[in-house]
C-alpha cells in the first residue's frame, strides 16, 4: 500500500515535469501553479497533518518570502540569495513564533496563526521605503537577462518544480525520522508524548518552521515570476485556506495525498473558474463539500472506498 502510494507520488511529480514540452504559455502557467500549490499543501501537512496543529499561517510565510526575496531581487540581488534569505527568515521566524503560538491548541492556535499574516500585511503596507507600501513592489525583468517571456516562464516553472522536489525529499525524510515519529506521538496524545520524553515545544516549533521554509521560497519564486507584488495579493488569506482544503481533499496526514489534493484542487478551480465566472466561488465550495462528504479520507483512500462499494453491491 505504502509502496504504491510512493509510486503514485513519484509518477505524478515526474509527469508534471513534462509540462514545458506539452503545451504553451498556459500549460506552463498552470504547471507552475500546480507546483506552488503542492509545495504549500505538503508544507501545511507537516504542521497540520503530522503534528495535528491546524495552521492558518501559510499566507504569512508566502507573503514574507515574496517580500523578503522580492526586495532583495529589486535591489539587484541574485535569485539564489533571495531564496536563501526568505527561507532562512521564515525558518527562524517560525521557530521563535512557534514557541509562543504553539502553546495554544486547536481553534485558538488556528486563530492566532491567522493573525500573523494580517500583522505582516500591515507591516508591508506601512514600510513604504522598503516595500513600496500599497503601491506594490516592482521586481525588474533583469533576472534572466531578457531571454523572452516563454523562456522565463519555462525557467520559473522548472524552478518551482525543483522546489517541489526539494520539499518532498525533506518532508518525506522528516516523516520517516525520529522527528516524524515524535510529531505522530504529539498529534495522538500530547500529554503522553511529553511524559515519555518528547521535547514537545521544540518538535512543534520545528514542524511549524518546516511548514514555513518552502512556502517562503515559493513566495520568492512567485515574486520573481510575477515581477509585481502587493500586500493584498501575497498575504491573501486564501493562501492560508487553500492548502488546508488541498490536504483534506487528498487525505489528511499523507504527503502523497497533499500533492494529489493540490493538483485536483487546481484542476477543479481552473475548470470552474473558466466555465462560470459569476458563481465560481460558490461552485468550488460546493464541489469541495461533496468530495469531503463522499471521500472523507481523501483521494488516497479512493481505492479502498471503491473496493468497499463494489463488495457491498456484489
Amino acid at each position: 500500500m505504502n509502496r504504491r502510494r510512493d509510486a503514485i507520488l513519484i509518477g505524478a511529480v515526474l509527469l508534471l515535469a513534462a509540462a514545458p514540452w506539452l503545451g504553451g504559455a498556459y500549460a506552463l502557467r498552470l504547471g507552475t501553479f500546480a507546483c506552488m500549490y503542492a509545495v504549500m499543501a505538503v508544507s501545511w501537512n507537516v504542521i497540520g497533518g503530522l503534528a495535528g496543529y491546524p495552521s492558518f499561517g501559510t499566507a504569512a510565510f508566502f507573503g514574507l518570502g515574496a517580500y523578503a526575496g522580492g526586495v532583495l531581487l529589486s535591489k539587484g540581488g541574485g535569485l539564489i540569495a533571495a531564496l536563501l534569505l526568505s527561507g532562512g527568515l521564515a525558518f527562524a521566524g517560525a521557530l521563535l513564533l512557534g514557541a509562543v503560538l504553539l502553546r495554544l491548541k486547536g481553534h485558538y492556535f488556528a486563530v492566532a496563526s491567522l493573525a500573523v499574516a494580517e500583522v505582516l500585511r500591515e507591516l508591508a503596507n506601512s514600510a513604504t521605503d522598503l516595500t513600496g507600501g500599497g503601491m506594490g513592489l516592482n521586481i525588474p525583468l533583469a533576472t534572466l537577462g531578457g531571454a523572452g517571456p516563454l523562456a522565463e516562464a519555462r525557467f520559473f516553472f522548472l524552478a518551482m518544480w525543483a522546489l517541489l522536489v526539494l520539499t518532498l525529499v525533506v518532508v518525506v525524510a522528516v516523516e520517516r525520522s525520529r522527528l516524524g515519529f515524535g510529531l505522530a506521538c504529539i498529534r495522538q496524545n500530547e500529554a503522553a508524548a511529553d511524559m515519555i520524553g518528547v521535547d514537545t515545544t521544540l518538535y512543534k516549533s520545528l514542524a511549524f518552521a518546516l511548514s514555513g521554509v518552502f512556502v517562503a521560497m515559493a513566495g520568492t519564486l512567485y515574486a520573481g515570476w510575477a515581477h509585481y507584488i502587493e500586500p493584498p495579493d501575497v498575504f491573501d488569506v486564501l493562501y492560508s485556506v487553500k492548502p488546508i482544503v488541498m490536504a483534506l481533499l487528498g487525505g489528511l496526514g499523507s504527503t502523497t495525498g497533499a500533492v494529489l489534493g493540490a493538483f485536483a484542487f487546481l484542476a477543479i478551480e481552473e475548470t470552474v473558474w473558466r466555465n462560470s465566472l459569476q458563481i465560481h466561488s460558490g461552485l468550488l465550495g460546493l464541489l469541495v463539500v461533496v468530495l469531503l462528504l463522499f471521500l472523507p479520507q481523501g483521494i488516497v483512500s479512493i481505492g479502498r472506498v471503491s473496493k468497499a462499494w463494489v463488495t457491498r453491491r456484489a
Binding site: R178, A184, C185, I196, G197, T200
Partner: protein
Amino acid sequence: MPEPLLRLESVSRRFGGLQALAGVSFEVGRGEVLGLIGPNGAGKTTLVNVICGVHRASAGRVLFEGRDITALKPFRTARSGLARTFQIVQPFPELTVIDNVAAAASFSRGLGVREARRAALEQLEFVGLAEHGERPAATLTLAMRKRLELAKALAMQPRLLFLDEVNAGLNSAEVEQAMALIRRIAGSGVTIVLIEHLMKVVMSVCSRIVVLQQGALIAEGSPAEIVADARVVEAYLGKKYAQAAGSAAP
C-alpha cells in the same frame, strides 16, 4: 544513612482557591515498593503530576537522586529516570503496540527507531503482549492497554516508577496477573510508588505505605501499622467508625 532516591520537602500545590497539596514531605528509598493511598480527591495523582513536572509545585522542593527537579518539565524528568503510568490509560491510538513502546524507549533514552523497536519487543514479552505487537493500540482491551502502559514505562528504563491505579477496572484474574508483574518489576531493582485503591494489592506488595488526606500526609508506616492507625480509618470511614474500631482494639 544512604541518600533516598526521591525526597519531597513540604511540597504544596494550589489550584486557585483549592489547596490540593499542603506541605507534603516524605522519602522513597532505593528498591522500595511504597504504597501511596488515600480517599478519592486526596491529591495522590496531583502529587505524581507535581513530581513529574506536569504541574509545578507552588512551594517546596522535589529532589531525585539528590538533584532538584522541582522546576523540570515532564520530558526532562522522563529523561532523568522517572516514569509513570496514567490512571486513565494514554496510548497513542493509531500507532501499533510495538511503536507505542518504541516511542517511549526512543525519546526517553535517545535510541534510534530500529534499536528502540528491539527494546520494545523485550518489554512486550515481559508484560505478555508480544503477539499483539502489530495491532493498533486502539484495538486493545482495557487490561491489555494497562499492560501496554506498563511496557511503555518500563521501556524508559526508569529508576523510579509511579504506577497510578494500574488495577482499576480489572477483574480479579487480571489483578492477580498484574500483581505478579509488579512483583517481578520490583524484583528487577526498580523502585516503585504504587497508587492503589485495592487494599489487597497494597497490603501484599508494598513494604511501606504513606497516606494522603485532603492534600496532607496523615500517616506513614508499615502496612500493619497503617491499618491500625485511627486517623487512616477515620479518613476512609469517618469518625464514628474510627472510635468504634479504636475501643474494640486492645
